[in-house]
Every structure is written in C-alpha cells, then in structure tokens.
C-alpha cells in the first residue's frame, strides 16, 4: 500500500537523501519508532504511579523531586527535562497541556496522542477545562478545583491519578497495568476494574 500525498513523497525523498548521505539508516529510524511507541511508552509513567500508590514515602519523593526519581529509574528516551508530578485528590483535579507547541513528558509517557497537539485541546483546556474534561469523559463535581499545568521546554508535567476503588488488594505490577496514558495527562479518571 502506498501513500502518494505530497508530504508522504517528500518524507520518503528526504529519508532517501539522508540515507544516501550516510546520515541515517532505515533500520535506525525503525528502531526509534519502535522504541517510542512500545518500550518508552506510557508504561514508564504507569510504573511510577503504581509505586506511589503502594509506597507513601516513594509518593512523597515523586511529588517533590520527580526528575531525580526518573533518572534513578533509568528510563530511556533521551531528554528528561525537569519533571513535576501533580497529584489528583477528591478536591483537586489536574490536567496537562502545552499551549505553545507540544511539550510532553516523553520519558514517562512515550509519544503524545494526536489530540494533545490539537489547537482545540490546547486552547479549550485553558478556557473551559470543566466542559472539555466532561466531553472527554471526566465529569467533575462542582466543588472539585481544576488545575491546568502548561508544559514548557523547561518543565514537563505528569498527573498522579487517584487509585481506583476496589484495588487495594492488587500488587504494584497489577496496579501498573491499570494506569492509562490519558489518566496521567489528566483527561481520564481510572475506574474500578472489571
């Protein structure tokens, strides 16, 4: 199956030129795509969240110095800018955006979903967060405060979602399985499994 759109052709031609110049190989590009879509992925963030749920001391460290924690986990994925983790509670719901471009905590969440880069998300999460979150499935009580965190080149944010009810008996590994990417951006609330 081929894609003959002008951009697809331009991208193919660019790759062909760069390969010919010895600047990259198709295999290296494949590896990067695989790494970001599978291995880096949101599982790294999910591991942090699950650990925080079962270990209150870890959680405290995660909320005060997430950058150091990420470094100690040795996640691959190149850049680890300063990472700040913000905690969802019964009273505060956090959501993450990048209003300027698409800054995103790659190291813990992998590739950003395409809606994250959408101008509609980027403006509406600031202008009308409660309405947008409700449209995305996060219906919040009126007494829950919403905090929107604008990522930048210097600081990336990740949400520590609330542990879903009925999961106290699960171990860390099982809990990590429940944590979704969207919950760590703050546009999903984790529900009781099953």
């Amino acid at each position: 199956m081929s894609d003959d759109s002008p951009q697809a052709i331009r991208a193919e031609a660019l790759e062909s030129i760069l390969i010919e110049k010895g600047l990259l190989t198709a295999e290296a590009v494949d590896d990067v795509i695989t790494r970001y879509s599978e291995r880096v992925g949101p599982m790294n963030g999910a591991r942090l969240v699950a650990r925080a749920w079962v270990d209150s001391r870890f959680k405290k460290r995660l909320l005060t110095d997430a950058t150091a924690i990420v470094e100690s986990f040795g996640f691959e994925g190149g850049q680890v800018e300063k990472l700040v983790v913000v905690e969802n509670t019964d009273k505060v719901h956090n959501a993450v955006v990048c209003t300027l471009c698409s800054c995103y905590p790659w190291a813990v969440l992998g590739l950003p979903p395409k809606w994250y880069k959408d101008p509609a998300y980027r403006s509406r999460i600031v202008m009308e967060p409660r309405l947008l979150l409700a449209e995305m499935g996060v219906v919040l009580e009126s007494d829950v405060e919403i905090q929107v965190w604008d990522s930048s080149a210097e600081i990336r944010y990740m949400v520590l979602p609330m542990q879903p009810p009925g999961t106290r008996h699960l171990n860390e590994e099982q809990l990590a399985e429940l944590v979704t990417r969207d919950s760590m951006i703050g546009v999903e609330i984790l529900r009781q499994p099953g």
Partner: protein
C-alpha cells in the same frame, strides 16, 4: 465522589498516534538525527515552534507537516542537505507509476 456520573472515556491507550506512516518516518528521522548528535532536540523544537508560529495556512492543522518543514529547514541551516535536492527527488518520486510497490 468524583467518579459518579462518569461515562466511558472515549480515548483509549491504544489510540493511533500517527495519521499516516510518513508521519512516523519523519518523527523517527528527527529523533535519530538528534540522537546521533547532528542537532540538539532543543534546536529542533525551536525550529518547530517557528514553523507553527509563522504558519499562515488557515486550513486543517497539520502538525507533522510543520514537523517535516522544521526538519528540512534545520538540516539546510546546518548545511547537511539542500532543499533543491529534495525538490528534485520528490518530483521524481511523484512521477512514478502509481502501482509501484515500496
């Protein structure tokens, strides 16, 4: 309780990140070249912001088109390749018969 009234989230983790394969190739190229030290990711991001900010196209927002433009502009700035070369080869590729297999 926050969870009350919650409907099923329409956005699952398995959402497709790229709309087309070329977008993943462009992403993969930029990351590979950056990891190989040809430019820093900060340099790329600055160029990407520039592309997005200077875009005057009112049409559909095309993040990966900006991404591709940022990459070619940066590579040309670094004198690693020439956009003329890209134009020529793109024309050649566009002239291929449509049933080509690659």
């Amino acid at each position: 309780m926050v969870l009350q009234g919650l409907t099923a989230p329409p956005m699952a983790n398995g959402e497709v990140v790229f709309d087309a394969p070329w977008q993943s190739r462009v992403f993969g190229m930029a990351r590979t070249l950056s990891e190989q030290g040809l430019f820093t990711w900060d340099e790329f991001r600055e160029q990407l912001i520039l592309q997005i900010e200077t875009c005057t196209d009112d049409g559909e927002y095309q993040y990966f088109t900006h991404f591709l433009n940022a990459l070619t502009t940066l590579l040309e700035e670094k004198q690693l390749f020439s956009n003329d070369e890209l134009v020529v080869l793109s024309e050649q590729f566009a002239a291929r018969p449509h049933d080509h297999d690659h």
